[in-house]
Symmetry: C2
Subunit: 192 residues, 2 copies
């Protein structure tokens, strides 16, 4: 997605340790018009898939997910992050490891809002090691709903998450694919 790549080039910052900071438009300050365009693109890509629900993880996944839901006219569920839980009877839960923060979180979704007849699109802001997506896929297994695909705003293609998702036979659509952040420069994979 050209507009997104240009915005990353203009307003993203490469930090040490292969970190791309995009808090100017995606995950702290958010550009609603760009999010709308992102939602439009995901909605086009999955227009023929009879999506019934969108799921994401709080907080940075919410803006792109809600804009996709607006255009597919389906509910959006954001999984909650918790340090740990004791009462989980009415919740689907999965563990998510954060490599950047070196912490484990549980993500949870209320059992009320997902059933085995749902056909779900997973949306997230970033894909690196894929821990958040694999947490949501673990919930998919528990709830027995179908995952129609995964939509990612920014994929760090040099990290293992993207390949691991594709290895499971799951459709992955990433709007910006980053080949490298070496020498403080953002290099994208060949254009879509």
């Amino acid at each position: 997605m050209k507009e997104l790549e240009e915005r990353i080039k203009a307003d993203g910052t490469v930090l040490s340790g292969d970190v791309l900071k995009v808090d100017q438009f995606l995950n702290h300050q958010v550009d609603p018009d760009l999010m709308f365009a992102i939602g439009q693109r995901f909605a086009q890509l999955f227009a023929d898939n009879n999506i019934t629900k969108i799921i994401t993880v709080e907080s940075s996944g919410i803006a792109p997910a809600i804009m996709t839901g607006l255009q597919l006219h389906v509910p959006v569920i954001f999984a909650r992050k918790h340090k740990s839980l004791t009462l989980t009877d009415d919740l689907y839960t999965a563990n998510v490891r954060s490599f950047t923060k070196q912490t484990d979180n549980q993500i949870t979704i209320s059992k009320k809002y997902l059933t085995s007849s749902d056909n779900v699109l997973i949306i997230d802001d970033f894909l690196a090691n894929g821990q958040a997506v694999f947490g949501l896929l673990e919930i998919a297994k528990q709830a027995k709903f179908n995952v129609a695909g995964v939509g990612i705003v920014i994929e760090k293609s040099f990290q293992p998450g993207a390949q691991k998702i594709k290895d499971q036979g799951i459709r992955l659509e990433s709007l910006a694919k980053i080949k490298s952040l070496a020498d403080g420069q953002v290099t994208f994979m060949s254009a879509e």
Copy 2:
């Protein structure tokens, strides 16, 4: 806002201790079309106020805030919640007490994204004791930006937050005002 009140009546659940659960359409599962209508209403109410930025607090404030930003075409900043912080040089921080969870959090906004020339609309999903709004007003004092007003999706008018905001001379626009949750029933204030 009629549509919102009807949705609260239909899909909200009153729990003990004056808790209104609206996780079917607002703060866990989210209805994007309703959020769009909410954003449209806030955008109408503040159309003549030359808003330059919208601020909210993660996570439940993000959906209504981003839909308002979409219609006012201004950036949305969501404050991050942290248990506590040591490095805060480049951050505005304020303390927020959660009465329901009996915990203290710090909320933070990067100093990069707010200046004294900004004219800011605060959006949040719920107003009860007003702690989140007062945290954002504390950041407004530090950053010296103007607060044009506060937009709330659901105000629990029987709790002190709404009056405390109005007592400071700040414009408050709440789309649903709940007079009482007594006996498990939602009673609204007189219609807008």
